[in-house]
Symmetry: D2
Amino acid sequence: MAMDWMRQVKLSSSQEGNMAGTHKITMLGTGFIGMFYTMTLHGQRGRDRVHVVYSRREEKARDFAQKWGIPRWTTNVAEAINDPETDVIVIGLPNDQHREAVRIAAQAGKAVLCTKPLGRNSAEAKEMLDTVERAGVFHGYLEDLVYTPKTLKSLESVRQGAIGKILWARSRETHPGPHSAWFWDIEQAGGGAIIDMGCHCIEIIRSFIGKENRPIEVVCWADTLVHPVEAEDHGIGLIRFKSGAVGQFEVSWAFRGGMDVRDEVAGTEGTIWLNHFLRTGFEMFTAAGPRGYVAEKAEGETGWVFPVGDEVHELGYQHMFTDMFDALDSGTEPRETFYDGYVVNAIIDACYRSSKSKRWEPVELAVWREGAPAEGIRVPATMADEGHVLIKQERMADGRTKLILKERDSGRIVERFTE
Amino acid sequence: MAMDWMRQVKLSSSQEGNMAGTHKITMLGTGFIGMFYTMTLHGQRGRDRVHVVYSRREEKARDFAQKWGIPRWTTNVAEAINDPETDVIVIGLPNDQHREAVRIAAQAGKAVLCTKPLGRNSAEAKEMLDTVERAGVFHGYLEDLVYTPKTLKSLESVRQGAIGKILWARSRETHPGPHSAWFWDIEQAGGGAIIDMGCHCIEIIRSFIGKENRPIEVVCWADTLVHPVEAEDHGIGLIRFKSGAVGQFEVSWAFRGGMDVRDEVAGTEGTIWLNHFLRTGFEMFTAAGPRGYVAEKAEGETGWVFPVGDEVHELGYQHMFTDMFDALDSGTEPRETFYDGYVVNAIIDACYRSSKSKRWEPVELAVWREGAPAEGIRVPATMADEGHVLIKQERMADGRTKLILKERDSGRIVERFTE
Amino acid sequence: MAMDWMRQVKLSSSQEGNMAGTHKITMLGTGFIGMFYTMTLHGQRGRDRVHVVYSRREEKARDFAQKWGIPRWTTNVAEAINDPETDVIVIGLPNDQHREAVRIAAQAGKAVLCTKPLGRNSAEAKEMLDTVERAGVFHGYLEDLVYTPKTLKSLESVRQGAIGKILWARSRETHPGPHSAWFWDIEQAGGGAIIDMGCHCIEIIRSFIGKENRPIEVVCWADTLVHPVEAEDHGIGLIRFKSGAVGQFEVSWAFRGGMDVRDEVAGTEGTIWLNHFLRTGFEMFTAAGPRGYVAEKAEGETGWVFPVGDEVHELGYQHMFTDMFDALDSGTEPRETFYDGYVVNAIIDACYRSSKSKRWEPVELAVWREGAPAEGIRVPATMADEGHVLIKQERMADGRTKLILKERDSGRIVERFTE
Amino acid sequence: MAMDWMRQVKLSSSQEGNMAGTHKITMLGTGFIGMFYTMTLHGQRGRDRVHVVYSRREEKARDFAQKWGIPRWTTNVAEAINDPETDVIVIGLPNDQHREAVRIAAQAGKAVLCTKPLGRNSAEAKEMLDTVERAGVFHGYLEDLVYTPKTLKSLESVRQGAIGKILWARSRETHPGPHSAWFWDIEQAGGGAIIDMGCHCIEIIRSFIGKENRPIEVVCWADTLVHPVEAEDHGIGLIRFKSGAVGQFEVSWAFRGGMDVRDEVAGTEGTIWLNHFLRTGFEMFTAAGPRGYVAEKAEGETGWVFPVGDEVHELGYQHMFTDMFDALDSGTEPRETFYDGYVVNAIIDACYRSSKSKRWEPVELAVWREGAPAEGIRVPATMADEGHVLIKQERMADGRTKLILKERDSGRIVERFTE
């Protein structure tokens, strides 16, 4: 049992000597996500601070600024972005307002970090990508779930080969529905549960299956089963990648029991199961009624409940902002850029097309940047002897080994026992 | 906390005064499944006994008979079936031999219980169904996973409305591949992982979503990612039912870590999660090396292992045979008949078609017997007031209630707060 | 991954050719335990049947007989026991009635199976043991939790050395309190939570630590924290065995959240964790209100609930009666005899003494039958070289091996690194 | 389902506007704990930095400084402490060196934060407490496990009454033994597994049962079962508090399977179960061999492994230092002070006495500071009517309610049913 802390340290490279910079931030949006972002930035003795906050509504802007000790607030987006003291813009606005905020921020020459999804569709996302790249500003895609400590450690294990070649990744996010009205409005949001949560799942899947592994085609079911809205409240999609691997996402706005956020990854040499919310080693039975906050989108306040210790940490917000600001300070790219946001939108577009055409649809990517095509999954067949291909080998209870073989010429499948 | 044992008793109706009959059984097949069936029938002070066993190979027939205290053995199928003392035929043979065994058994006028899948395809299954019905013999489809104690209790809860209307059911069975050569031979088996394990998943899904709920169409991905065989070693399928509910099956012959057998069911009022194998409350760490049997298809013999207490019980064999013989004794139908086996085969046929056509394919059922069409899932919209449909309602931290509403005329989505 | 079914078969030796006998049973008691016993005996196509049932109250006896299809009922204990057709007496009566029932059964020369605890104290237990041994009748101690499928498989693993020498075993049973009045009456029951549930825990501990391993002394805390009764509603005890191993039991009649039945075993080579009730792979969230029976002593009917699939199976009743009747048929001893019941009572007596004396108390056993004393746990020290004893060895991240050593002469503890 | 974020905010009060100060730190010790502390302080964009590091060995001091970007290193303790630029001393040295370091730090008038246990015994701890109090310097006791996010949220729930009055708390920490030689040396460490890990458990127990709840007496078993050392490698202790509540700790240096860190708390209205290491929602099966660090004291590198996402976070280091520095900045007391360390040592002293005397031993506290005595657990008996005390009430399956009652005069226990 080696304590192997040196490898751990490399996992946490951001933890070495990084006092380079401190940043003043413009926060756009005071909703749930703006609050989570600010909690993360101000928490745990951090050195970066929100300096200006924008909300469309004066009351919300002022209250938010007061609650979080933010020096300035405004109801004017451009004024917030162009504040002379801030160098980083964090966009936590409804989906239909991302494009304009990105445009102003790029014009201001400031670093811009945008919440998920990047756009309502890939055309919007591509436009934003082009905007920041033309302006030459730092851009980060705030996909927090790729940054959960469990996911980061899993990805490192996958990179090291711990589970072999990836065959399949399932990512699931379901809960009883979002809190703000705009999510339910297909015009503002660009879709329903798939655009809202499928974007998380897809980027988790890409991270495990490999970002260099081009998504080829998708098939998707989307339906509105429970709510009186136009947008889908359920969606399931399969994504086939160039290597042959398959990603599977499941989203729902009608799940009962809390917020279900789980990933499963199967490789030729292993398996990873992650549970980010409902079963994380914290279990409480309470007969005593309402007693404070359990966890985001928890259902019920008595009986067995499953809280999460520190949500902003478990959901990846902390490691996400550390990566973003460290990348900014060191002049490198963060793990998630607008290009990633664009690829996610392109996959979602194909999903919506498939849910209507009822067939597999190609993922259309005007730009594919990730270098070499991934090698395929299938390994060359192992020959048991000149005439037989090995299918499976297993040790029997009586000590013998059983081989399941295919005769090379006839294709016939036979068993053979060896001592 | 009511102890409510009377309801429990009704759940176990078979447990009341059922000494009606005892049966002598012809067991066809001495492989893994014949062994599991015999262990179940002879175990726990049961009153029904295997009286004749058939295997194609003399040595296996003789050894099996001796091991399990079975009076007679033979290498002749017809002789086994026509044994004058047995009244029940249990078919535990490779898939391509089911049809002939059913034919002889029906001719003999004996009760016939056939292992899963019923046929290699729905044409074969339909022929077997017609054969037993024309002969008027008792027929049971040995789909054990519908009978696990957890599944039975879950189904009873669903029937009682505990989780509302069913929206989605996921059933997953994956392991590192079957033990006998014939499974890998597409000709004998009729397919790969989907025909082998998808048949379990599909019947579990039908049981949860409702057997009266007609399967309409499927979309399916199947691929051979790891093994040098023609049959698929991976498959994922979506099944849309008349009510709008969706079933999802996942099968693999390349899973690492043991045998993963899990079901998840989502309803409008609740959720059910079942884990039949890898996390059942039995966890062992062992540094000591090979020490006996852990569980079917367990991987590894040191480190953390997750055995199952009593496999024939946990996998449903015991409750399955109790249902079969109790039904036979009482002149009723068992929970699973050849008709169910036929429906399963028809769904699998559509899956194989879809995996080639790359689109949703209709489930073709020459006969649909289950009465009234299921009512749809969508409930009539709730009006918040004359002009607004209610989308969502939630209590805020400050004690107010937030309503997310759709304006009936404009379709616009708005928020409103009430004290 | 060997399927190793032959070993599995040996684990289930009772499953081979055991049609020897069938039995007619006198059931004494119609309470919760009588009901569970009868459900088990009549369930799953069993061949043994309850033929006469006794209850003190005519109405209960008659209703019970009718519900379970039992031909005869009576309110006279002696008449029930002496029924000419029954050969086995099952005692499911309050603790203070065991002795008299055993006396009459022994006189009748019938096999006698007594529920737990055997006596209210070791004097009573010893008297019952002497009674059945003098009469030469078959006797079994109905300690079901030693027979749960998980426990049986664990014990087999321990026997095979999978977790090395046993150092510690924790057994815990807690719930919100028993259902019948007599449990709460110290006179009828002989104690509180310790006599009620500690007897289970102690026999589970003995089974893991080894029945040949003599219990030497105990220390015990008992208190009445919540209920207005004389008997303790909480108890924790430590039992030191001859080998040095320690058992730990925890019982409570005030646990909230359901019935918590868990065992943990630590050995020099491994660990076993068993959860028999609250986390067995069956999880349900229900918002829909009261919908049938969840599990024995479950709390709450909405929210997350954790049912058990088939309680009589999971609690060991089925394997217990199979062992009892198979032993009776084959003329051998069952796993649990009255002698075991006596040892358990002797340990409990010492616990009650300790809870008053506030010190470790010896376990007083008039008879100790289990053969050879267990060998101690401590292994001879490993010498790293002539002058050093090895304390610990571990591989470092840099590839070197670190040894923690004790200098034989000085006793000084040092580190040394090897390549 | 209220999102109730305002309460969450109050839970994280440290997250509001706390840019008050930044600190330069002297780190004493470069072992495992010094590394973990430094990782925490330098991680996640923190604003406090280690400025000087001390190790007895030049090579270690220099390497550590280089690895973590620390400007200065020294092999002289006094020089490290008296560095003119640092204002906070963090002691991460072997137990026998705490006292001297505290003395020098107090003399220097600097804030001093000392790792656990405070002293090797309560006399040493008292001396350190007196030293810092006389010098009037800020002092914090670095008991990280009280600060895990799960523990902090649990404690808040307990404070709010979610599980009622606390009856029992179990805290367990076991693993295969510490990494450094000095832990195994009773002279340097002051004891074995109890002083090493029992100190964690005891403070967790105190936190749940209430720091105002005076520990009265203990009983403890300690033994050296596996290793050739003088210090105990196993210990179990029971601590009785003034309210009647009982704490239970379990420690072992011979646990197999990884690091087992779990807490269980039982209250009159609920239950809390925390698992900090082996089952936190991160599960991996790997057949591929050694591939990087799994988690502290993980065993085995193939098979099922259970990593922890971000160890310094999950183990509480991050929230601990946030509390310490926030308290320092705001002129308040941190959650854990030297007084807490002293109480823990006093309880451990009593445990060691008890393990020798084999009886309950009083906890000797020269100073007891926590104000009002805790109220007892027992509630006044509820009268069912004039003559009966209510013991238990439960709803029956047939809709009636069953009361278990004690007759006030006779003490007889009876059942009564009401419609």
